[in-house]
């Protein structure tokens, strides 16, 4: 500054300091965020009223008046037969059934281990330093372990038919295997839809539009009811496998459109630069186009993944007992009747845990990608 002033032969004007409103400290924070204008003050007061009306009863029902242990449903209710607080004893009593369903009771450590493996794999996948061949190997090993634990029949484990798989492990298998296969398939469909070959393009467009135009329930029904009609007699395909494949094909169509959005946002110059270096189509796609395109569509991708995760609950209509299916079955117990709210709150909490994790993870990824892109 002084150098410039010296050269100019005069003093540079100094911008006048404007008195700043107080923005630090708790009172400053309140003023800046909650009471900055008349309208905001009004909104704040309304929100406070709503919270005051809703929060205390929820706490009273869920914690203060809740019954944490009871031998059966009657013990949860007061003398008048009315439920005063939440009957968490019901969830406690049914916990193993809700989580693992009809899987043989003495063998339920196996699905428990499967859930642990899935959670471990998902958490490991979050560490970008592990991304690469080793992670692929880890997943393959994980799948083998999950298969062995669920099916059994080897290593001294008793065989368990897929019709007995249920609860949380079933939900996780459908969702994780579904996403893992649907994602690459969706990428291929998206690339195919932008292909220069008319035949490839037509097939991909037809597939995507057809699948997107049909409700998932219909696809599941077709897979479970109609497909066996067309198969030669004697040949049966496992019901779970059919549902899984239907699931993958369905999710892939949605993912394809999300990925296509990203592909369209890649500037032509990137493609030209890759071409000019002689990379060729597949290397250009893998090294230049997809990394940028996928990073751009992380929010809608995760949106689709979350949707897919929750869509697994639809398999109940073809007789598979996923987490929501076991919850419903638990409600049918004559000893514990009428505890719908507790049961669904518990199921919702599990779904929420997984979905919230996904959305936080996507935020983290976005931040990381953007950090490297700009300064």
């Amino acid at each position: 500054m002084a150098d410039i002033e010296h050269e100019l032969g005069r003093e540079l004007p100094v911008p006048a300091a404007r008195p700043r409103p107080r923005t630090h400290g708790p009172i400053g924070w309140l003023r800046a965020n909650l009471f900055s204008s008349l309208f905001n003050t009004f909104l704040t007061l309304i929100a406070l009223c709503l919270l005051a009306v809703t929060i205390p009863p929820i706490i009273r029902w869920g914690l203060v008046d809740a019954v944490w242990s009871a031998p059966d449903g009657l013990a949860c209710r007061g003398a008048d037969g009315q439920e005063a607080g939440a009957c968490w004893a019901f969830v406690g009593d049914k916990l193993r059934f809700i989580l693992f369903g009809r899987f043989p009771y003495d063998e339920q450590w196996r699905p428990l281990l499967v859930v642990a493996i899935f959670v471990g794999l998902i958490v490991a996948s979050c560490d970008r330093r592990l991304w690469g061949r080793r992670l692929v190997g880890l997943w393959l090993a994980g799948f083998v372990a999950v298969g062995v634990l669920m099916w059994g029949g080897v290593l001294g484990l008793t065989y368990v038919d897929t019709s007995l798989w249920s609860g949380l492990p079933l939900t996780l298998i459908l969702a994780v295997v579904g996403m893992l296969f649907a994602f690459p398939l969706g990428i291929l469909l998206a690339l195919g839809r932008r292909s220069e070959l008319p035949a490839v393009r037509a097939v991909c467009v037809a597939y995507i539009e057809l699948v997107r135009g049909v409700p998932l329930i219909t696809v599941l029904f077709m897979a479970s009811v109609m497909l066996p009609l067309f198969l030669p007699s004697g040949l049966t395909i496992d019901k779970l496998l059919r549902a899984q494949v239907a699931f993958i094909l369905f999710a892939a169509a949605y993912l394809a459109e999300v990925v296509r959005g990203g592909l369209q946002a890649i500037p032509q110059g990137q493609i030209e630069a890759a071409d000019a270096l002689g990379l060729g189509y597949w290397r250009r796609t893998r090294l230049i186009v997809l990394p940028q395109a996928l990073a751009m569509v992380i929010p809608p991708l995760v949106n689709t993944f979350i949707g897919t995760f929750k869509d697994t609950s639809l398999v109940i209509i073809i007789g598979l007992f996923d987490l929501l299916g076991t919850v419903n079955a638990a409600l049918a117990d004559a000893n514990w009747q009428g505890f719908y709210v507790e049961a669904y709150v518990f199921a919702a909490a599990i779904y929420f845990g997984f979905c919230f994790f996904m959305s936080r993870y996507s935020l983290m990824l976005e931040r990381e990608f953007n950090q490297s892109r700009q300064h």
Partner: protein, 254 residues
């Protein structure tokens, strides 16, 4: 046979013969005939829309020509993808908008093609990349991302990226047009050095000072045709065509 060997050795490294191209109904290139010898520096100029960018983009088939023949480094450009990729390996290109890969660091931008196209071990590619970054005078930026560099630095990275493939020919498509004035010189200096080392260059540019310094041949294009082709001394002092004279008077007026 002996004759064709001789022409491989000292014949043109780029030969365009009766090349035509249309964008829909618009005739962008009209009967282009151009030969560039090994080590020759050709500067192409002309008003905007004259087809000069389209012409050099035909050399590595970023644009397809519809009629005529283009032979680069002894390989004819046809729809055959093998030939196209073989030519692209030997021809480097620098774009007006740099077109660096924003998701990769500067070093990764440079080593990508050597590793994946030339199958070079990563360590060798890194070494090569650092060497070229040194030559374009930004070795300290290796681990930054393109978005963190100035325009002039980005364009020098782009030049280094092309050089890492050890091309026989470098194409420059208005390399300084998107730069702030104070950054043009740093890029031109790198290009002049490259010319002095004997690189075959075809350069579309409006930098006439640069053209005077390095060009062996000036080519003036207008309305899709090559109007004039001459050594720079003659081209600037004594242009033959009226259109060239008009263009030069406009561009050199200020």
């Amino acid at each position: 046979m002996a004759e064709s060997n001789a022409s491989d050795a000292d014949g043109p490294i780029i030969a365009m013969r009766h090349v035509h191209k249309w964008f829909g109904d618009f005739h962008v290139l009209k009967d282009i005939n151009l030969e560039v010898g090994k080590g020759e520096r050709v500067v192409v100029c002309g008003p905007s829309g004259s087809g000069k960018s389209t012409m050099i983009r035909c050399v590595n088939r970023l644009e397809e020509h519809q009629q005529g023949q283009i032979i680069v480094a002894g390989i004819e450009l046809t729809a055959d993808l093998k030939n196209v990729e073989a030519i692209r390996r030997e021809v480097g290109m620098v774009f007006q908008q740099f077109n660096l890969f924003p998701h990769l660091t500067v070093l990764e931008n440079l080593t990508l093609a050597p590793i994946w196209v030339r199958k070079m071990p990563k360590r060798d590619a890194d070494e090569l990349a650092r060497l070229y970054l040194e030559r374009v005078r930004i070795p300290e930026q290796a681990d930054k991302y393109p978005g963190q560099l100035s325009g002039g630095q980005q364009q020098r990275v782009a030049i280094a990226r092309s050089l890492c493939m050890k091309p026989e020919i470098m194409l420059f498509d208005e390399p300084t047009s998107a730069l702030d004035p104070e950054m043009i010189k740093e890029v031109l200096d790198v290009m002049i050095e490259l010319a002095e080392e004997g690189m075959t260059m075809v350069c579309v540019t409006h930098e006439m000072g640069f053209a005077r310094t390095v060009a062996d041949t000036m080519v003036f294009m207008d309305q899709g045709e090559i109007v004039e082709r001459a050594p720079p001394a003659e081209f600037f002092a004594n242009p033959k065509s009226e259109r060239t004279r008009l263009f030069l008077s406009q561009i050199l007026a200020h």
